[in-house]
Each structure stands twice: as C-alpha cells, then as structure tokens.
Amino acid sequence: MPGRWIEAGRAREFSTEAKQRAMPVNAANDDPERARRFRDAALPHLDDVYSLARYLLRDANDAEDAVQECYLRALKHFDGYRGPAMKPWLFAILRNVCHAEFARRASSPTAAIEDVTEDSEQTPLWRETQETPEAQLLRRRDATTIRRFVIGLDEPFRETFVLREIHNLSYREIADIVEAPVGTVMSRLARARALLRAAWLAEEEPSK
C-alpha cells in the first residue's frame, strides 16, 4: 500500500477494490487504543463525508465505496495527522478518492466526466445573471428539489458550493481542500450561486 494518500488517490480504482478487499488490518493499525482514538475523531464526521461523496460522485453506491476507502486511508495516515480540523482533513482525502473514481469513469467507454474547461470558468458572470431578473423571488423549494439543483451544477462549481453552503467551511478551508487560491474559490462560488439561482428560477413554471 502506498504511504502517501495524495498520490495514492490518483491512480487507483476503488470501486471494485474496496468491496472485494476486507480492508486488511496491518500490524501497525492493530492497536486498540489508536483505533479508539481514530474512531472517536473520525466517525462523528461520517454523515458529512458521505454527504460530500454523494454530491461529488452523484451516485449512492459509488459514494459508499468512496467513503469506505476514505476511512481506510484516513486510518492508515492517522499517525501523521496534525491538523487541519478532522472534517476538512477527511474531505481532502475523500476528494482524492473521488478523483481516482473520476479517472476510472473517464477511462471507461460508457461514462464521461462532465468537468467544464478552464475557458468556461472564465466566462464573465454577467452573462448568466443578466438573463434572470434579479428582483424575481425564489419560490420555496423542498430539500429534495434543492438537492437536485445542486447535483445539477457542473464541477468545479458544485464542489465549492457544497463545501461552503452545505458543510459550512471557510474560504480558506475550501481553498486548501481543492488546492486552489482563495480568489478562485470566491469566483467559483459566485458562479455556482449564479448557476443555481438560474436553475431555481427556471423551474418556477409548473414544469416536469
């Protein structure tokens, strides 16, 4: 097993591997006291980690596998953990696991990644925002519908949006997780909110 989780996340396919493997416990990990500390520190964040995985992967089964892989890696590297806070640390690991999954999907002939290019990230905001009347009020939506809007966002906007709006991380924490400058986080978030609002308003009509 590779000793560095960042690199480890890049190339591996977790989705089949995680299921077949009974998550081997090596001697270094087989310390009840250490396991207890890990459990107490990491397990309270399971809902958050799973939730982020759902939004990143847009698939419940893949999310479960990614979360399991994430916890396996987190346990492996728990000794080297010195911060940040546990939740952002787990998120960063999960993100790497998810990127390995994206790589797998990209290489599979039937699936594709929908990541937008850098070009479209540079699109000025006013193009979207001018299309929608700002004064228009948002109709109340239930959580299921709002989740659908969020899921509909493209990367990297969805990721930034979810980390900020659903998991309440600071710009700094998000920047560290997505390995981008704070300014980029800010502009992605602005774009994400513009897109989400546009989707929200577009559904005002009784459609479906």
Binding site: D47, L72, E165, I166, L189
Partner: protein
C-alpha cells in the same frame, strides 16, 4: 469598485469572509448601485433558503456498520483499561456517572457486551461525547435518529418522573451502531442505547454489577434494554420501572 468586482465580493460579504475595510468598500458600492443591491438581496434570500433546508445526506446504517467492522476492534476492555478510563473520567464521573443503556442486540456474549456497555458509558462521559443532538423534547430527539439506525429507538420524556431527557447520540456496541438516549437524574447522566433483536419475548429486569457500575437489563417487544449506572441499584430500578411503565402507557416507542 466596479460592478464586476462587487458581483464576486458580495458573496464574500454574505459569507462574512471580508475584513471590515473590504466589507465597507463593497457596501459603499452596493449602496450606490441598484443592480448590485438587487443581486445582494437575491443571493441573501437564496442562502437563507438553502440554510433552512437540510441538504446533507445521512450515511446509510450499513455503511456505518461496514466501516465500523473494518476498523481494528476495540476488544472487551480488561479491568485495567476500564480502570484507566475511569480514572481519566473521574472528575466527570464524580458529578455525572449514571448510565442507562437500553440495547437491542441480536444475541451474543452477554458478559462481553455488558463490558462494552460500561466502556461506552465511560466514553460518553468524556467532554463533548455525551450528546449529538441536544434537546429536552422527545419529538426532536426521536426524529434525529431517522436514517441513522435501522431501528427507531423509543424516546420517552421522563422529566415528570424525575429523569430529565437531555438528548441523543449514536454509539457503538458489539461493532454495531446503537442509538443512545441521554437522561439526567439530579447531577447524574443517564444513557439509553437502542438496537435490534430478533426475539420478541419479554424478559424481566435483572441487575448486575461490573466495575462498580450497576447494569439493569430487560427485554420487551423486540428490544433488549441495558441500564448502566453508578447510582444505587434501587434508583436504577426506579428508572427502569418508570421507563417501562411509560412505554406501556404510550403504547408505542
């Protein structure tokens, strides 16, 4: 400041990420710009709507069990580790060392599970570990468990009987996620744990003592209950009886 700049910075303003100086600049621009004023209002409205809806997904119980099972098992605590835990928590234990655990378990080694219950009780007394959801309202605590467990634990407010409901928590016993409902008796904390058992027959309460804690255990309607406490056995029995009586009275969980 231009509208293009303000359009991005107003998000940082909404999120409270600007220092006072920059916040002032953005606000100054917005004050003189009807379009940006409308934008700010629109995004504030949206952020509020999003904050008001819980958009998180709860981890499925089987995932929790899978991960729990994949971690190196914290085995039955031996006498020494329990004593160590007790010493660590003794300041807390002195003021709050009552635990009631109602646990539904399939079957398994009673003695080992009781040790785990004591261990879970000790863990819960450490700072910040007692409750995941804090509420004195049973109608808040009960729904909180939805989606977190494969069973809906009975949450009963016994405040009128001298045992105040203070919240709930997820814990792990026998490598399974278990719901803990937390009560307080005077300065003593009480935990109530819930999981599932295939048997539905009723077993009357029995009390045992492990490491100085009293454990009261009974089964009813497909649930096994375990009570752990450093309270005198008679007070623990009182809790158990009142809980069972309230369960009968409510006719449900």
């Amino acid at each position: 400041m231009t509208c293009d700049e303000a359009e991005i910075l107003l998000h940082a303003l909404i999120d409270g990420e600007l220092d006072a100086g920059h916040a002032r600049e953005v606000e100054d621009h917005i004050a003189g710009c009807p379009r940006c004023t409308a934008q700010l209002a629109a995004y504030r409205e949206m952020s509020k709507a999003i904050a008001g809806a819980d958009l998180r997904y709860a981890a499925p119980p089987q995932l929790r069990r899978r991960i729990e099972a994949s971690l190196p098992q914290t085995r039955t605590p031996n006498r020494r580790s329990v004593l160590k835990g007790f010493a660590m928590g003794s300041a807390v234990s002195a003021i709050a060392a009552t635990g009631l655990f109602a646990i539904l378990l399939h079957d398994g080694d009673d003695q080992r599970i009781m040790s785990e219950v004591v261990s879970a009780h000790l863990r819960s007394l450490q700072a910040g570990h007692l409750t995941d959801v804090v509420s004195t309202d049973q109608h808040t605590v009960k729904p909180w468990f939805n989606g977190k467990l494969d069973v809906s634990p009975p949450v009963i407010d016994l405040t009128a009987q001298g045992f105040a409901l203070i919240g709930g928590r997820l814990d792990y016993v026998d490598a399974r996620a278990i719901g803990a409902i937390v009560y307080r008796r005077r300065a003593h904390v009480i935990n109530l744990f819930v999981a599932q058992t295939p048997g539905t027959e009723r077993h009357a309460a029995k009390t045992e003592t492990i490491q100085g804690f009293n454990i009261r255990r009974w089964s009813d309607r497909g649930l096994n209950y375990w009570a752990v406490s450093d309270l005198a056995a008679d007070e623990l029995a009182e809790f158990g009886e009142k809980f069972e009586a309230a369960m009968k009275g409510s006719g449900a969980g």
